[in-house]
Point group: C2
Amino acid sequence: MHSYTEENYLKAIFNLSAEKGEVSANEISVQLKLKMPTVNSMMKKLAVKKLVHYESYKPIKLTEKGKKEASLIIRKHRLTEMFLVQKMGFGWEEVHEIAEQIEHLQSPIFFERIDALLGYPKIDPHGSPIPDKTGKMEWIKYEKLSSCKAGDTVRLAAVIHTTDEFLKFLNIRGLQLGLKIKIKFVEKFDSSMIVSYNKSNTEMLSETECERLLVEKI
Amino acid sequence: MHSYTEENYLKAIFNLSAEKGEVSANEISVQLKLKMPTVNSMMKKLAVKKLVHYESYKPIKLTEKGKKEASLIIRKHRLTEMFLVQKMGFGWEEVHEIAEQIEHLQSPIFFERIDALLGYPKIDPHGSPIPDKTGKMEWIKYEKLSSCKAGDTVRLAAVIHTTDEFLKFLNIRGLQLGLKIKIKFVEKFDSSMIVSYNKSNTEMLSETECERLLVEKI
DNA sequence: GATTTATGTTAGATTTGTCTAAGTTATAAT
DNA sequence: ATTATAACTTAGACAAATCTAACATAAATC
Ligand SMILES: [Mn+2]
Ligand SMILES: [Mn+2]
Ligand SMILES: [Mn+2]
Ligand SMILES: [Mn+2]
């Protein structure tokens, strides 16, 4: 259907425009490590295919069709990550690069089987929702750890803006999804937090770190 | 390292030249469904990369380097097929197309893990040997069922020239690797065989079918 | 408001992998 | 030995995805 390359553009646009609903050509070029004119000509091509709305000098938006296509690739990506962690024993910091390749496989039965073997999971190993077969996806309304107060007890529900390094950082501290965390103290000057979990562990987390951890209050 | 396209050429050349040690440009073009000039220019390119020996109007041979590269791709292909069958519940007739894509993934840890989870298998689901990490592969010296005589009892060891259709044909008859087969009768005119197995089953197999079944005598 | 800077566009070149059309060489048939 | 056929090669075109260099527009700064 679409080329490997086009799929990566769709996914990049989808992710970059998640908050604002639109994205600049420049941001796409940074994300995909391509020069601006390359992005520019691809936008024209995707516009012809009715995957993006494109007008000169204006930000780029995905069409409904584009959003659906992107979601279905993200579905394959996240199902793959879950399979790699749950069924193949990889760490959550190892799976993104592999999924980045497997997401482009053309084989409905392969992803059907993964889905079934996993018991039709709703989230990936980082807590992100897995779009359904029609491309629909909904984020459960978690809040950022950074927006919680001293005394709150929360459960770690998702990690956003994941990088392998940040995930390794969490590994070292024994921080994993589902963990019950108690906020002991919030430093006023830099908004860093002292948190405790697993009965014994106590750790300091910087504001940037707390911004990337989504939690549910309990 | 090499492109997806180049990898498919290497594999095609390796497989087509397995018996004679060389292959014509025409055979490659048929196998890969490409026109002759396309193959011709790729041969020049692969020759520059020292992956094939190429001289005008002569058959094509892989260099040692080319053989090794091809074997390592075949290794990934066969490990994948074994994983799909053993760990994901696919039938042996479903896995080739998927493996055809996964074999191109660039991720040593992914194939390492598959290998480990399978317990370092020596053969794929069709009985073909899996090359080792250095690209070495050896066929155990099986014989074709077609070369056996009435009265022989054999064990089904491998299926060659597999197609999904032939594998489904074997499925329907309950013929699978490891099965003990007794040759009841060999028809002189067309070399078809009457065989029995699993205590009750009796089937007639044509010569073409018997040519594709490798067995070990017991 | 004018100027500078950042962002976006156009034009043209390049690489990879494919094709068709035309010509060449080798093999098979007469 | 000619001729016909099949296999192979060359030449030139093309689409996809990228780039650089030059130009245009929008935004930010002065
Ligand atoms: Mn990921
Ligand atoms: Mn990708
Ligand atoms: Mn196969
Ligand atoms: Mn392949």
